[in-house]
């Protein structure tokens, strides 16, 4: 019975989501298609603000007294929206915008409020001693840009400065993403051959991704243990078998205490490769075999095919994964947190985000950490806008262009 109930519950939720999307699409459809009607302005100015206010009332978002004010806001907004659709949009681009509307509304719903909240905090001073006053009066002391100055001048860690930490974070990000892509690419190429047990291999290879991350990291951490970990046992055996290597200083390593960051990196690489592998494997599927057939006839070598067909053609699929992978790795705290100890651990493996969490959660410097988070956001934003954005723009053209020049386009009768 319980289970039946939860099915109903979820079906109901899916229905709510669907109804929400339908309402949204209806709203847009009305504005895109009926903007020319005489009654357009009047009907929408009456109907939509009223509906919105009723919805807010039903959800309990506003108390009885605030309803009038809320209605006024909705009314003004609706009039502006109407004018916008009637005189500027005039029904153009209706299809793409309606396709995008549900996704972007969802994102706005979930992320705009938290983001604005963070910005608000970062210009004020919220810490342990002001938190109660904030709760009771809703007011916080204004701090201007002091929190931002603190981000750059004081270091969240004791041994290294903010800038060194930034450098370390960049290095961590680059190393991880590089090996994720390289490893994923190599595996995907191997799996893309006509071999037996392909599906079976593929399933086993994604285990690091499929396993709950916490468990995966804790298991790997055990393998790095200085005495009982698999890695050091193997290193020890190797050093014993080849004394020449041992003479060069080769042997068991105290991974966790002497090289915590390297350990984190190795574990994170292990975790991330399967994901890239699957993405690249999907990308390889998007390449029509006719390209390779044509190249074979021209006598192209394996590496030429790789360079001039495979790489450029999986780029549209690979680039998003690499870009997002970079952002995720930059902000990834799980591995570091789990490897260096949940109680704070050593600072030798901290990157920007893990230092940020320490400031926020162990020292309760909420405003400082909000400013810190905004700085991280801004850095990532500028990196992607300046570095990646141009590559999207010319992404398609670039591939098509280079293909025409280098190999043969699929429509050309190379077979003849």
């Amino acid at each position: 019975m319980d289970i039946l109930y939860s099915i109903y519950e979820v079906a109901w939720f899916v229905l709510i989501v669907a109804a929400g999307i339908a309402a949204l699409e209806g709203y847009f459809y009305y504005h895109f298609k009926l903007y020319g009607k005489k009654w357009f302005m009047a009907v929408s100015a009456v109907f939509f603000p009223l509906a919105a206010v009723l919805l807010c009332r039903y959800l309990g978002l506003v108390e009885g007294g605030g309803l009038g004010r809320v209605w006024a806001w909705f009314f003004i907004a609706q009039v502006l929206i109407n004018l916008f659709f009637k005189h500027i949009v005039k029904g153009r681009f209706s299809l793409p915008y309606m396709l995008l509307a549900p996704a972007f509304t969802g994102l706005a719903l979930l992320l705009v409020y938290p983001f604005v909240f963070q910005i608000y905090l970062s210009f004020h001073d919220l810490k342990l001693t002001t938190i109660m006053a904030w709760k009771n009066t809703g007011r916080l002391p204004f701090a201007g840009i002091q929190q931002y100055i603190n981000v750059f001048t004081t270091s969240p860690l004791s041994e290294i400065t903010f800038w060194t930490l930034l450098l370390r974070t960049l290095l961590w990000t680059f190393t991880n993403v590089f090996f994720h892509v390289a490893g994923g690419f190599a595996l995907a190429l191997l799996l893309n051959n006509e071999i037996r047990f392909k599906g079976f291999y593929r399933t086993l290879l994604v285990i690091p991704w499929a396993m709950p991350q916490v468990v995966a990291v804790l298991a790997m951490r055990g393998e790095f243990h200085s005495q009982y970990g698999f890695i050091n046992i193997m290193l020890g055996k190797l050093a014993a078998a080849f004394p020449a290597l041992a003479a060069l200083g080769f042997g068991p390593v105290q991974w966790l205490s002497d090289h915590p960051l390297a350990t984190c990196t190795l574990i994170n690489i292990w975790l991330g490769i399967p994901f890239m592998m699957v993405v690249i494997l999907g990308g390889l599927q998007s390449i029509s075999s006719s390209y390779y057939d044509a190249a074979d006839i021209d006598g192209a070598s394996y590496f030429q095919k790789l360079r001039y067909i495979t790489l450029p053609l999986i780029r549209p699929v690979l680039m998003p994964a690499v870009t997002l992978g970079t952002v995720w790795t930059f902000n990834n705290i799980n591995v570091i947190y789990l490897v260096t100890g949940q109680s704070g651990g050593t600072e030798q493996a901290d990157i920007l985000v893990s230092a940020l969490y320490k400031a926020a959660f162990t020292y309760n410097r909420y405003s400082y950490s909000a400013a810190f988070a905004i700085v991280i956001f801004a850095m990532l934003f500028f990196i992607s806008v300046f570095y990646y954005a141009p590559t999207f723009g010319r992404g398609n053209l670039g591939i098509r262009g280079s293909l025409r020049g280098k190999v043969i386009s699929p429509s050309s009768p190379a077979r003849g």
Partner: protein, 284 residues
């Protein structure tokens, strides 16, 4: 001529064996930690580290599995996770597939900005969103319900899904749709009949991504859910973890059990990872 084919065949065989050898080596690296967890789950005495490397420890038994299934609500948690994850994946993928189509095939003002906005949603460190998220869920009255989680999950993996699908749609030649449009199909019809079937690899990647993310999610679940009947398995399993003492046997047993559904999904998705493209529909 004959010798040449033999040499060719031998070369092919060597290549074939080599590929298998490399893949098997990597498979071992990937699977080994899972085997270690398995050995923890059947090891008596809740020990997480062991000095011996043998995978079947002495005194092994399935006591931890039995305790997990009998003494806790594990099956219930698994079920909660499953329905949330499946609902999330379907909503997420369907929203993303249409949005990505807009980005791939249309020119409209704000297209580039939209793409960058999508990316930028991933740039705020997630832990910083806990407090505002709590306040929001609270106000909307979604505490302890699945709805809040389904919305949060399906939205939070949208950016990746949209981007990967857009990249994939971009590689599908426009000529295919144009032919259909000439035949009188609507734009949406062309999307539904031509683009979607051709994009199964990307759709399944997006589905897998949505599935694993929602399946393993902890932060949002922790904020939203507070009664143990409503827990997802992540919350339930972490209930076994104390400040010092963790019931590692049951924890490992639970980890083994929750990995199984994901592996099934991956195994099943294998056939969807093969595109119609390679089967030759572009050649025409």
């Amino acid at each position: 001529m004959d010798k040449k084919t033999i040499r060719h065949r031998r070369k092919k065989l060597v290549k074939y064996l080599l590929i298998h050898a490399v893949i098997i080596a990597v498979v071992v690296i990937c699977v080994y930690p899972l085997l270690r967890i398995f050995s923890i789950s059947i090891r008596p005495g809740d020990r997480v580290i062991s000095a011996d490397l043998s995978l079947i420890p002495s005194g092994a038994g399935i006591a931890a599995y039995l305790r997990l299934l009998q003494d806790t609500l594990f099956l219930r948690w698994l079920w909660n996770s499953l329905i949330i994850t499946i609902a999330t994946s379907f909503i997420g993928v369907s929203l993303a597939s249409t949005a990505a189509y807009a980005f791939s095939r249309f020119k409209f003002p704000g297209k580039k900005t939209g793409l960058i906005l999508l990316l930028s949603t991933q740039m705020i460190p997630a832990g910083m969103l806990i407090l505002p998220l709590f306040l929001m869920i609270m106000k909307l009255g979604l505490m302890n319900t699945y709805l809040g989680m389904i919305i949060a999950y399906s939205v939070s993996s949208l950016p990746f899904s949209i981007w990967i699908l857009k990249g994939y749609y971009d590689t599908i030649p426009r000529s295919l749709e144009e032919a259909a449009l000439v035949d009188g199909t609507s734009q949406l019809g062309a999307f539904y009949r031509i683009i979607l079937p051709l994009s199964t690899p990307a759709l399944s990647i997006a589905f897998l991504f949505n599935f694993t993310t929602a399946w393993n999610e902890y932060l949002v679940a922790r904020v939203v859910l507070f009664s143990s009947r409503q827990y997802t398995w992540t919350l339930g399993l972490f209930e076994l973890q104390g400040q010092y003492i963790t019931q590692w046997g049951m924890f490992a047993a639970g980890s083994m059990l929750v990995t199984v559904p994901v592996l099934i999904v991956f195994l099943y998705s294998s056939k969807w990872l093969i595109s119609g493209l390679t089967l030759g529909s572009v050649k025409g």
